[in-house]
């Protein structure tokens, strides 16, 4: 029998990575189902009801099977190497964010001391992947979608980063676990409710800007189906399309999870006596709630125009974020 102890860390890491990928897939499946249900009920419909008995719960699995056995089409005039590479890049950029999400105090891929900064950094990969996909498809819609997406994501990265700096400043650390630990003991300790109203504004700005980061409505210009067919993944099908899809839902989870972590107290319960419920449930619950709000917004608001999108970013979010940052900085300094 081989002594396992030297390899224990390695085994745990591998198991964690596999678990995260599985979790991402399951979450994507669940989220597609939820999205349809939310859309249906908001529009006084029912959503999928047939596949698998109770409220069509097998529908996402049927879709997944369809995607997996679908023909993988590469356009003849596409730039084949880049076309094949792009989905992986986008997927990696999305999956890398999961490494620092603290599901619980001990359930975290790696508690980097630059956790928040790391997440902002790895999302850059998604931008490049999308540009690559748009270019390699050799399709005008893909190209438009990619250009829009890149412009939008780069612009909105600034308000996102500035809003995330506020809890970072209050906690004095960028490590996810320490940020969450600073919010222990009841919802009045959550960063979203401390230093009212600054952190609340920061939370709202973060949430809206993150919608633009993950190309969700009302900022879904890159894949606006009524104008651009499907934006940068117009030409993709089958498993490669599924990669983009997974990445998109993974991104949704990551941005919501970061909001839950840095603003909403991560794995802590809103009331201390509820801490008997395990942390991951609270964490995933808060994240799922934010994902639900994203869907709710999607079926509430129409799509913005490009100029409106840029106006909102540069003329509203950015000045408010800066003012917020200065005031919270002052608050942190005065408080000592």
């Amino acid at each position: 029998m081989i002594a396992l102890e030297p390899y224990l860390d390695l085994i745990i890491s591998v198991v964690y990575v596999v678990g995260i990928v599985l979790f991402l897939s399951l979450f994507a499946l669940f989220a597609t189902w939820l999205e349809r249900k939310v859309a249906g009920h908001i529009q006084d419909r029912l959503g999928p009801m047939e596949t698998g008995g109770w409220h069509g719960w097998l529908q996402p699995i049927a879709d997944a099977i369809k995607l997996l056995i679908k023909e993988d089409i590469i356009p003849a005039a596409a730039d084949k190497k880049l076309f094949k590479l792009a989905p992986y890049l986008v997927f990696i950029g999305s999956l890398a964010g999961f490494a620092v999400l603290p599901f619980a105090a001990n359930l975290i891929g790696s508690d980097l001391n630059i956790g928040v900064y790391y997440v902002i950094a790895v999302t850059s990969l998604v931008v490049i992947g999308i540009l690559m996909a748009g270019w390699a498809s050799n399709n005008k819609w893909s190209m438009y979608g990619a250009m829009r997406s890149a412009a939008q994501m780069i612009s909105y990265e600034i308000p996102v980063a500035l809003s995330l700096l506020i809890p970072v400043m209050m906690a004095g650390t960028m490590s996810m676990v320490e940020i969450v630990d600073n919010q222990a003991g009841g919802f009045w300790n959550w960063y979203v409710f401390r230093t009212m109203p600054f952190s609340l504004i920061a939370f709202v700005i973060y949430f809206w800007a993150s919608l633009a980061e993950v190309n969700r409505a009302p900022f879904d210009l890159p894949e606006a189906e009524s104008e651009l067919v499907a934006g940068y993944f117009t030409e993709y099908s089958g498993i490669r399309w599924a990669m983009f899809f997974l990445a998109e839902y993974g991104d949704m989870f990551v941005v919501s999870a970061i909001a839950a972590t840095v603003f909403l107290g991560g794995w802590y319960a809103p009331f201390p006596f509820l801490d008997i419920i395990p942390g991951p449930i609270w964490f995933i619950g808060k994240t799922a709630f934010l994902v639900f709000v994203q869907m709710w917004l999607r079926w509430t608001l129409p799509r913005l125009r490009v100029d409106q999108l840029m106006y909102v970013c540069w003329k509203i979010f950015l000045p408010f974020s800066f003012a917020n940052l200065l005031l919270v900085g002052l608050w942190v300094v005065l408080k000592g």
Partner: protein, 238 residues
């Protein structure tokens, strides 16, 4: 107003309108859905909904009005005069049936759902049946047959009808000949006269003999039409 005011007002409006919109969609989230799970539950359509045509053959008097009204000419009807031997029975309003409806075929595949046949039907036998699933596996099935006579019966009745018709024509010819022999031969003239003058002078006072001559060819044609006003009255009563 000035730009600063507008800027902050826009932000305020943005926040409030988004909140309002989210509140509205949130309420709709909990409203009962209007979806009908189709194959299991079906909607009852309003009475005038143009769904699928159906002819209640037992109340059809074979008047051909629907066939004439149809703009795409997809209703094909063949009738035969009812005889005593047929025991044709009564119409739903109690009057004896005068015509046997031998075939009543509708090509539903061509139907434009204009509803004119339903409008004109004097007996209300042509109606919308409140179902919309005319889906069939073959195109032939879209040809709807509502008459219940088997083909050989149809052929027999048609032949009988022709014989009867021929006899009747013979009788009519004889009667006409008798009449012509009996009278002082003014008959052909008034027949042609009103036909020529009718366009110019519609009201001819001295055409006492002419009116039957005009009405005679019209009579057999609208022989069943005579009871149509009654039927229409009955329809209005119903």
């Amino acid at each position: 107003m000035n730009a600063t005011y507008k800027y902050f007002r826009d932000i305020y409006l943005g926040v409030t309108t988004v909140s309002l919109g989210m509140w509205i969609t949130f309420r709709h989230f909990f409203m009962p859905t209007i979806t009908v799970q189709y194959p299991r539950e079906k909607l009852i359509y309003p009475p005038r909904a143009r769904t699928e045509l159906r002819n209640a053959i037992e109340s059809c008097n074979g008047c051909l009005q629907c066939a004439r009204a149809c703009p795409v000419e997809i209703i094909h009807i063949e009738t035969a005069k009812a005889q005593d031997e047929d025991n044709a029975g009564n119409m739903p309003d109690g009057k004896p049936r005068k015509l046997l409806v031998l075939t009543f075929d509708v090509e539903m595949s061509k139907c434009v759902h204009c509803g004119l046949c339903v409008e004109v039907c004097p007996t209300e036998s042509m109606h919308w049946n409140n179902e919309h699933e005319h889906v069939t596996f073959t195109r032939e099935e879209l040809m709807r047959h509502w008459a219940t006579y088997p083909p050989e019966e149809v052929r027999r009745l048609q032949e009988r009808d022709e014989i009867l018709k021929a006899e009747k024509a013979k009788q009519a010819a004889e009667a006409a000949a008798k009449k012509a022999a009996a009278g002082d031969q003014p008959a052909p003239k008034p027949v042609s006269k009103p036909a020529a003058d009718g366009a110019e002078k519609p009201a001819q006072p001295s055409a006492a003999a002419a009116t039957p001559a005009i009405e005679k060819p019209a009579k057999p044609e609208s022989g069943d039409g005579t009871d149509s006003p009654q039927k229409e009255n009955g329809k209005e009563k119903a």
